[in-house]
Every structure is written in C-alpha cells, then in structure tokens.
C-alpha cells in the first residue's frame, strides 16, 4: 500500500559507532534537557538586562502575563472566537472534502472536470485572497471561517482522492471473485483502504486551518487570539505576544495528538502506525 514516509522511523544506525547503545528514554531526556536549557538561558538573558526584556520577554514574564489573561474576560472571548473560526471552517472542510474526495476518486470523469479548479485553488496562497474574502465577508468571524475552510479543504480532498485511487487491485479482485456488488466493493475494500490517507489529509488540513485563523486575524479582525497578538505587538507587550503564540502552538500539538489517537483506534491492523 502506498503510504507516506514515516519520518520518525530510525534507519539502522550502522554508520554511528556500533558499540554506541542508547537507553530507552534517551530521546526524551536529551530533548527535554535541551528544552529546559534553552528556557533557562532565555530567563537569564532577560534578567541580566543584556537585551531589553521589552524585546525578548522571559519565560516567567510570559507565564505571568498568561495568568493575568486567564482572568480577563476579553481573553476568553478571543479564545472563543478563534476556536469557533477553526471549528466551523475545519468542520465544513471535512464534511465537504471527504465525500467529494471519494466521489472524485471513484469517477475519472469527475476528476477530469474538477481537477483544474482543485489545482488552481491549491496553487493560490489563501493569503493573497484575503482582501477579496474580506470584501465579500467582512471583517467578522465569517471571513476567517472562509479562509480556514479554503485551507483545510484541499489537503483533505486531495489525500482522500489519492486514497481511493490507491485501492489495491488484488483486493478488488478477491471481492469480485466472491461476486461482491459494487457497493460492497466500495464499503469493504475501498473505504478501509482510504482511511490512512484520509488521516494524513486531516493532519495537513488541521495545520493549514490553524494557519488560516492566524493569517485571517492578523489581516483584519476585531477579536481572536491572532488579533490579540497583533494588538499586543503594536503596543510592545511582548510577553502577551509570546503567550498568544504559545496558545497556537499548544493547539496545534493537541489537534495532531488527537488525530493521531483517533488514527490508532482506526488502524490497529497496521504494523507500523506510530
């Protein structure tokens, strides 16, 4: 089955001295300690006054600012607005892209008809369409939903389509030899085989959806975390800016982790699922 390359798979480390053994948690220890070291250095730099904390803030100041925000009702509104933009746009994209991707994968005619539009949409950076989208949908929540939707719909569509096309002929042959109906072939062979591809698309799509929220809010908005970051940046409240970025970072990691977890449940049969 054609599967995207799993980057985390370690190729045999034969070029490193073979006597070198690692202990099981080496990865976490080294990664974790580097992270802590960087945070420590950052804090030290800020406190030493070598660089004006106004420019770089510091871990403690970011944390303090964060705590402060948690009590600010505006912050929760921003969170709600950005969250809604993400969920609506992404949800709509999933609801449209998966069925459409399946249809395009199954029908060559449909693929020929729609591929110019899909390819064009893929080639246009959504960012360039922002002025147009704002002309159409204003600066409220809906313009962001459109941007998020456009960003997520293409990867999900393209990957779902690839998944259908990758259905292995040998499995279809088995189904046909048991005189399976076309519907049965679709539900028992094509659909399960497409699942890994759909998840790849969902993950790419989630990243682009999140990007859409940020980009849309930076361009023109009245609320949202991106809006907060921009406003904080304008007033040199660097700690708030960092906190806002942190929120997006955490959201990104959480969404991917959730999708990974979901994928594990659906794909217990795969030997190499992370």
């Amino acid at each position: 089955m054609a599967v995207p390359i799993n980057v985390d798979q370690d190729a045999p480390d034969e070029r490193t001295r073979p006597a070198e053994s690692g202990w099981a948690y080496e990865r976490f220890v080294i990664g974790g300690s580097t992270l802590l070291a960087v945070l420590l250095l950052w804090e030290v730099f800020a406190r030493s006054g070598l660089i004006d904390p106004l420019f770089i803030s510091s871990p403690t100041r970011v944390a303090q600012a964060g705590f402060g925000l948690l009590q600010d009702s505006d912050f929760w509104n921003d969170l709600r607005v950005s969250g809604l933009e993400f969920l609506f746009g992404y949800g709509l994209a999933v609801a449209i892209a998966i069925p459409l991707g399946l249809a395009i994968g199954l029908s060559r005619r449909l693929q020929y008809m729609l591929s110019p539009f899909v390819d064009t949409l893929n080639a246009v950076p959504r960012v360039t369409l922002l002025p147009l989208i704002v002309i159409w949908a204003g600066i409220g929540i809906w313009s962001k939903v459109v941007v998020v939707f456009l960003g997520a719909v293409i990867p999900i569509l393209v990957n779902t389509q690839s998944g259908v096309k990758a259905s292995e002929a040998r499995f279809i042959r088995v189904a046909r030899s048991f005189s399976a109906s076309r519907l049965k072939i679709f539900s028992s062979i094509v659909l399960p085989g497409t699942v890994p591809f759909v998840f790849t698309g969902l993950k790419y799509g989630a990243g682009r959806a999140l990007l859409g929220v940020v980009v849309g809010e930076l361009y023109a908005s009245t609320a949202g975390i991106g809006h907060m970051i921009a406003a904080a940046g304008n007033t040199f409240q660097t700690d708030l800016v960092f906190f806002g970025v942190l929120i997006f970072m955490v959201t990104g990691l959480v969404v991917v982790a959730l999708l990974d977890g979901l994928e594990q449940r659906f794909e217990r049969w795969r030997p190499d699922v992370h």
Partner: protein, 278 residues
C-alpha cells in the same frame, strides 16, 4: 469505434478540463455583465437582479485581463512590485536553504543532535509560523528584515525535516558496501548519503517554495510599501478587485514556474532514482 470517439477518449482529460474552465469563465463574465440577469429576467422577474454582481465584488475575466495588460505592458507598475517581492523572497529562500539543509543533514546523521532539536522542530511545525510575525516586527521593525525572517521561518522546516528524513532513510545496504571498502565518514557522506538524499531535498524545496510565497505576501501585507502582496492589499482596500486578481494570478504564476523548474530537476535526477512520495 469511430475516430471521433477514440480521439475524445484519448484526450478526455484535456477536453473535459478545458470545457469546464471555459464554462466557468463564461459564467463569471456573465455574472458581472448581467447576461444571466437579463436572460432570466422574463422568467424570474425582479429576483433575476441577484444574478448580476458588482464588479467590486467579483470583477470579470475581461476586466482582469485588461488590468493585467495595463499593469504589465502599459504602466509597467507591476514590475517594480515583482522585483521588490523577488528580492525578499530570494533572500528568504536562500537563507532557509542555507540553514535548513545543514541542520537537517546534521540531525539525520547525529541521532543525539536530532533528539536535542526535535522538541523545537516539532513545536515550530505545529505552530502556524505566521503567528510569529508580530514578534518579528517588534524585533526588526517592518521592512526587508521582517519579510526575510518570516519567509525563513516558513520555508526552513520542510527543508530541514526532509533533509533529516533523507539521511535516515539512506539504504543501509549501500552504507555497508561503502564501509566494507573502508570509506571514511566524510567520503561516505559525500558519495553515498548526499546523492541518495537529493530527491528528498528537492521534494522539500518544492514545499518550501509554496510556503515561502505565503511569507512574502503576509510579510508585505503587514507592513510594506511595495511588492505584490502590498499591491494586493492596497488594491483590496480601494476595492480595485481587478488589480487584486492580477496580483493573485502573478503570484500563482511565479509559484508554478518555480515549482516547474524544481520538477524539471527532479525528473532528471529521477532517471536513476524512483520517485519519492512525500
């Protein structure tokens, strides 16, 4: 099977695609000029008005084409913007390559180094990098520096991650062969790892090109006087929708040209290496 039928079947893809595109363009043009509104007026009455849209909302193929002609060949105003954007883009992409490739290769080669920087790469990858833009502006103000930095931030990840993957996935059998000939680390790297990494690097470059484009536009929209992104933003705020489209198409064309170039190189490399799926 008649010759007409077999002709159609052989070129079905191009024919269907072209027909759909032409139909879409016609519908678009008609929406702006009111063809459909006029045609359906006798049937739908007043509500047929809805089938004509203001040009500030949608423009039309002919308006966009004439604006393009003007901007490219009459006033030439767009060339300055292209040059401006290209400068930032070129610098940003070059820097991303210069940082990303060594970083990725090192991470692929030295396992421990990879463990060390992995949290940062993952964090950066999970974050919409554009969110860093206000921070970048705080540091270096608006201007060339900010634009270059945001492009670097966006483009460096696909390059580094692919470079790392390329080294990790090098066929261990080839390494065994080289080692059995007594090849030292450096020679091993130069003659085995690097050549086999090239297709991955090119695939990463293709991704970086697209993401860099986003950086160019975002950087300019946020604070620049010139450049395609700035032009789009200004035209948008003045409701000059035809110019906006021209800008969008220019960026798309530029991206396609660059990617085509990379794909051309990829095809020549592919002669000995099967295509890579990323």
């Amino acid at each position: 099977m008649s010759t007409k039928q077999s002709f159609y079947l052989r070129h079905e893809r191009a024919i269907l695609g072209t027909v759909m595109v032409l139909m879409a363009l016609l519908v678009w043009e008609g929406l702006e000029r009111g063809w459909w509104a006029d045609a359906l007026h006798p049937i739908l009455g007043e509500s047929a008005e809805r089938l004509q849209l203001e040009r500030i909302f949608i423009s039309s193929p002919t308006l966009v084409a004439s604006a393009a002609f003007r901007m490219f060949f009459v006033t030439g105003e767009i060339w300055r913007d292209i040059a401006w954007s290209s400068l930032g883009y070129g610098l940003g992409l070059a820097l991303a390559i210069a940082i990303g490739i060594p970083l990725g290769l090192a991470a692929g080669w030295y396992r421990r180094f990879s463990y060390a920087i992995d949290p940062f790469l993952s964090a950066l990858n999970a974050t919409p990098q554009v969110a860093f833009l206000p921070l970048i502006v705080v540091w270096v103000g608006t201007g060339l520096g900010a634009r270059v930095l945001i492009i670097v931030l966006l483009a460096v990840l696909p390059i580094a991650i692919n470079a790392r993957a390329a080294v990790r996935i090098t066929d261990p059998r080839l390494i065994k062969v080289a080692a059995s000939f007594g090849a030292g680390d450096f020679r091993l790297f130069r003659t085995i790892i690097l050549p086999s990494a090239v297709p991955f690097l090119l695939a990463g470059l293709r991704l970086a090109i697209g993401r860099g484009m986003i950086g160019v536009v975002v950087g300019e929209i946020y604070g620049s006087a010139a450049g395609i992104g700035a032009m789009i933003s200004q035209a948008g705020s003045r409701f000059q929708t035809d110019k906006v489209f021209v800008g969008v198409l220019t960026i798309v064309a530029a991206g396609m040209i660059l990617i085509e170039i990379v794909q051309h190189i990829e095809r020549r490399v592919e002669a000995w290496h099967p295509p890579v799926q990323v």
